[in-house]
């Protein structure tokens, strides 16, 4: 039985035929089991979401701290979610269909793991619906009947939201600006930490890499000539300066930009000035 068949067999058609017993038959058919299930489900969904949302609003709480955002939420199981600022991948302002009517916005903090979870839940629901569809085909239900039965379930997909969100905001920009300010403060503090002497090895390495990229082949070295003048082999020099042979080969070709300490050590062994060895 398809959608058009139902219209064709609609009770008014029966009136036209002046067959009143036929009307009762059609009415019974109209309120057949799948319509009843549909109404019942819609009722459950409405009641559920009414109480659910009331409880949700009652339990919901969030705090924006200096280093992290703490969100407390949940209806059956109350969860506390801590989102550190440096784990946030992006911030998204969204406003869904029902939210747009009330002019309300939701802020989503996307962290990689959180997005992954929601994807899995949504995929799971879609999988269930597909399985149900196959089931309904087996039991000779039409797509129309099926859609009516599982309409609330399909609605549910839209209702699923990430835990890392602050919903129901009239002016999300205020919160986003305060978060931005705190992120900037945090980054400035981090900047000081990054230059602790222990971390400077990395800084040195990066500066080497950057200078290598920026300057191309402008770095000149006369290491080879001076080394030959003194009468040392590459391996001798490497042994005395205590750096790998390959590094000295690269130094002679001008491929590797040494740190000052290595340059001084080489100059010390070869008894000359650093400026004689290397020049920009």
């Amino acid at each position: 039985m398809c959608f058009f068949q139902i219209i064709e067999n609609f009770p008014f058609y029966a009136i036209y035929q002046n067959d009143y017993r036929f009307i009762i038959d059609r009415l019974v058919m109209f309120f057949s089991w799948y319509y009843i299930i549909f109404l019942f489900e819609i009722l459950i969904v409405i009641i559920y979401f009414y109480f659910y949302s009331k409880k949700f609003v009652k339990n919901y709480d969030y705090k924006i701290l200096n280093e992290e955002i703490i969100i407390k939420r949940g209806v059956f199981k109350i969860k506390t979610i801590i989102i550190p600022y440096d784990k946030i991948e992006s911030i998204k302002i969204s406003s869904g269909f029902s939210e747009r009517i009330k002019k309300i916005y939701t802020i989503n903090f996307e962290i990689i793991k959180g997005r992954y979870n929601i994807l899995i839940i949504r995929l799971f629901l879609i999988l269930i619906i597909i399985l149900m569809w196959i089931y309904s085909l087996l039991y000779h239900l039409t797509l129309f009947q099926f859609n009516i039965i599982f309409f609330p379930l399909i609605l549910l997909i839209g209702f699923i939201k990430s835990g890392n969100s602050i919903p129901g905001l009239k002016n999300p920009n205020i919160i986003i600006e305060s978060i931005k300010e705190k992120m900037i403060n945090l980054n400035q503090n981090r900047g000081n930490e990054l230059y602790k002497s222990n971390c400077l090895v990395i800084d040195n390495f990066i500066s080497n890499m950057v200078s290598r990229i920026n300057e191309g082949s402008t770095f000149k070295s006369s290491l080879k000539e001076i080394r030959e003048k003194v009468g040392l082999s590459i391996s001798d020099l490497a042994e005395r300066v205590k750096i790998p042979i390959k590094m000295i080969q690269q130094l002679e070709e001008g491929k590797f930009r040494p740190s000052l300490f290595i340059a001084y050590k080489i100059a010390d062994v070869l008894m000359c000035n650093v400026e004689d060895l290397f020049s920009l």
Binding site: L200, S259, F261, N273
Partner: protein, 138 residues
């Protein structure tokens, strides 16, 4: 032939020269194009700069590189940081005159093994609260 060498670190006179030019750390950093923290650690001597950066600094300060950065042996820095009283204390522990300790900071490293015994150098480095490997290189 075993050749003993001092472990050396880089010392700088950036601060003196910078103040001669009456530049603040921040201005200095901006001209070169690094952060202020880098200059701070450079002056403190905690930071081993790249050669390009040190050439830039030398160019800005109008001084030859070996005046701005120079190698200093660790043992010399250590001995110079001690007071006369502490020096005398250490010398009396080792049963030597304190002149000899000071001499250790001035000696040419090519002749060090002629003047000092290796075990003796070990004892001295223990007294200075360092290991032998921290101070000397073979």
């Amino acid at each position: 032939m075993i050749k003993l060498k001092f472990k050396k670190v880089i010392k700088t006179r950036i601060k003196e020269f910078r103040e001669e030019k009456s530049l603040t750390q921040k201005e200095f950093a901006d001209i070169i194009g690094v952060s202020r923290q880098t200059i701070y650690f450079l002056e403190k001597g905690d930071y081993n700069p790249s050669l390009t950066l040190s050439f830039k600094i030398a160019e800005l300060l109008d001084k030859p590189l070996n005046q701005i950065f120079y190698l200093e042996s660790l043992i010399k820095i250590k001995i110079e940081s001690l007071s006369l009283k502490e020096l005398k204390n250490i010398a009396s522990n080792l049963n030597i005159k304190y002149d000899k300790l000071v001499y250790l900071s001035e000696i040419d490293e090519n002749h060090i093994l002629k003047e000092f015994n290796k075990d003796f150098l070990r004892k001295i480095s223990n007294e200075l609260e360092m290991t032998y490997e921290d101070l000397f290189d073979e």
